[in-house]
Symmetry: C2
Subunit: 329 residues, 2 copies
Amino acid sequence: MRSELLDLILGLLPDTHPRPELRAFYAMLRDYPQRGGKGLRSELLLLSAQAHGARQGTPQWQSALWLGAVIELFQNWVLIHDDIEDDSEERRGKPALHRLHGLPLALNAGDALHAYMWAAVEQAGVPGAYREVLTMIHRTAEGQHLDLDWVARREWDLSEADYLEMVQLKTAYYTVIIPLRLGALAAGCLPSDAFTPAGEALGSAFQIRDDVLNLLEDAGNYGKEIGGDLLEGKRTLIVLHWLNAAPAKQRAVFLEQMALSRADKDPARMAEVLNWLRQSGSLDHAQDYAAQQGERGLALLREALSGAADPAAVANMLGLARSYVTREA
Amino acid sequence: MRSELLDLILGLLPDTHPRPELRAFYAMLRDYPQRGGKGLRSELLLLSAQAHGARQGTPQWQSALWLGAVIELFQNWVLIHDDIEDDSEERRGKPALHRLHGLPLALNAGDALHAYMWAAVEQAGVPGAYREVLTMIHRTAEGQHLDLDWVARREWDLSEADYLEMVQLKTAYYTVIIPLRLGALAAGCLPSDAFTPAGEALGSAFQIRDDVLNLLEDAGNYGKEIGGDLLEGKRTLIVLHWLNAAPAKQRAVFLEQMALSRADKDPARMAEVLNWLRQSGSLDHAQDYAAQQGERGLALLREALSGAADPAAVANMLGLARSYVTREA
């Protein structure tokens, strides 16, 4: 993440208080933002602002920076709550917040960080940004509900189309569509309608790449535990594709393990499942699909921005969007 | 709650979706608001708006109604998350949301409802309301952190002053101070500075009355489980006052039980503790303190509103504020 952005975020969050308990609370709010997120989404937003004509050092650029802070604060509070919902162990190479402080305190800290995100929206002062942030939260929460509901009901009778609908809600809005739109608004432009289909394609590609990385043995730079999605019973394109053609015995072992809680899953059995998945060709299928969606999204985006104010920024933006599908971490 | 308010809330929340899972999600968002909360806080806000000169049927009144919806939506998303944090069993006579749908889905629904609260802020269109809502969330989350942190660390070495600082943050802002201020803003008036000390006194009185009701055997209309606070290890003025003078043996039994999780607590021992508390005079002490704080708050409020536009509304408002301390449910 750009250092100016982190400075804005840390300047917005409270720091000190006469009561030691509340100093500790403030430190919890500052924890995830300081763990060095890559800041891909705010970078996309800033490149979109630049492509639409916002120049560094102008009030428009300052607004774009604040909206970048909004996107990063959004991701941070959502991650605190996601980590609780999935009972994840790690986040960005350290224990998840609720593993450090217990669930109740971490949940409450996520709520407080959510409110500071709205304080950043106010700082940006960009007409229309408010509605975009509401849409981002609504769609992300809907996608998250689908994901969690399938886990809770142990629903595996799902098509690849079901998965794509889920990730288009859960990932595409906050990762691509809304950053692109907020960048345009910060520059005083009307966002292109094509940002939605472009973002759905690129967002799916991004999430599928994330799912692939989560299963690769050598994803050393990746900030989450390898195979964690599988232990959490997450639906991925890889698993759904494999399950569709898996031998009956493998399928039965998989569904048996998926009916158990994370703690009750048999590590040896789960290692077998991981091997079957890796040997099945489903990782390649998912990666190919992600690449194809990525190209589709890039083409749509290139066309939507063909008359943009700053062609060099458009090129940088397309390069960043391309890295969504090829990234190693 | 006034029916116009519930109509605004239910009209704002989404209702239908092609996917059954998302229809179920929307039903979760609509659940707590439909359980018939008393709407004390929105009522206080509306009476404050009226006292400051907002007349029914005017655009100012419509803004006040939207801000009433904000306060109710705030309470509802906070209650969903509180019930998770405390692992409460019931809310308004029915199972808590996370007991119906599991923790992950309920947590996510609370986040979505939080965002719909911000949509209601936008609908109100009242300058300055945004800042008030931010302050309300920040102070409430800080108070909630103190409360939860003491539970998590099994901290019982606390004074009555510690308790009061906690409830002034946790309860006073969203129950009194911010409703009073938002009512004034809806009517186009600058809120009186005296609303803060008045609200701190009345808010403490309200929370202490809540704590007292939670321990009374015959609180039949009360929407939470009797003695639930004790099982959850909540710090209350009653417990802190009793603990200060309790015989060493009673104190030891209490601390021993408090070191256990809710499920591990011995029901017979806890019934003994409840009896000691009820016989100690600490309930009377707390009730007397609440009454005294209530009178102080009322006097401050009466003075602050001595020149108000609508004296009849001020009288209704003072009557409502008085009921905070005498309520039976």
